[in-house]
């Protein structure tokens, strides 16, 4: 992972490295495939535009996810009163491979996981996705969400306990 303090990273490399991660975060927040794609596009427009002023004084992953998170929240606020598109949700949650049985189980698991993550409150969900799905460090999550490390840990504890309760059947 790029750690900053080097020369300015190349925009194409940034996009290839972080597009899926920003898409994952965006989709988990806005819960709509097309809106999540819009968030990715807008995020990288801002990343590329701001790249020259990026000072490299923190992990670049946290900087990019911070822009993506703000963008996703802005989209969520704009459409708060609009219903979700259930077809878009159903199509997006998984693309399983393997035998038919494996595909059915993987699809079912993906749907349950999607439902469980979606049930978390938005601040808790964002911390969980960045830490446990995307694998950022606690301090990177704190920087991305602009909260303290202890607040991240509290949100993670809440998220993991709720996920444990909801996914119990898959954990034994």
């Amino acid at each position: 992972m790029y750690e900053g303090s080097m020369k300015t990273p190349e925009p194409g490399w940034l996009f290839d490295t972080f597009a899926d991660g920003v898409y994952t975060l965006a989709y988990r927040i806005v819960r709509d495939r097309h809106l999540a794609e819009d968030v990715v596009q807008e995020t990288f427009v801002k990343v590329i535009r701001s790249l020259a002023s990026y000072r490299g004084d923190g992990p670049i992953a946290a900087w990019i996810y911070r822009i993506g998170y703000r963008q996703a929240i802005a989209v969520t606020r704009r459409r708060r009163e609009e219903p979700l598109d259930p077809i878009a949700v159903a199509v997006e949650i998984d693309r399983p491979t393997g035998t038919v049985e494996e595909q059915v189980l993987a699809g079912e698991l993906a749907a349950r996981l999607d439902e469980a993550i979606g049930s978390l409150s938005e601040p808790v969900r964002a911390a969980f996705v960045l830490r446990d799905v995307e694998g950022l460090s606690t301090m990177e999550v704190a920087a991305a969400l602009e909260i303290s490390g202890s607040a991240v840990k509290m949100r993670l504890a809440r998220a993991r306990e709720e996920m444990r309760r909801q996914l119990e059947d898959y954990l034994t």
Binding site: E92, L109, L113, I117, D132, V133, T138, R160, R164, L167
Partner: protein, 75 residues
Amino acid sequence: MKINCDQLAGLLPEFFDGDLSTDQSDAAIDHLATCVSCRLTVDELKGVRTLASEHGRLELPPESKERIRRSLDLD
């Protein structure tokens, strides 16, 4: 240093991040060695993290990735 179930629960975020002091880590391991209930909790929380990391990530569809790449003039 001995800890009970509630104290272990309070240490779990640092436990999973590997941020416990040596004393805390030893106390957590000693407690887990004798408490089936906490061991089950920790195993299930580990399972949550495994499920999340292995199945929670999404991929931007290739055609969308190409479209956005072009719109950003990255080709």
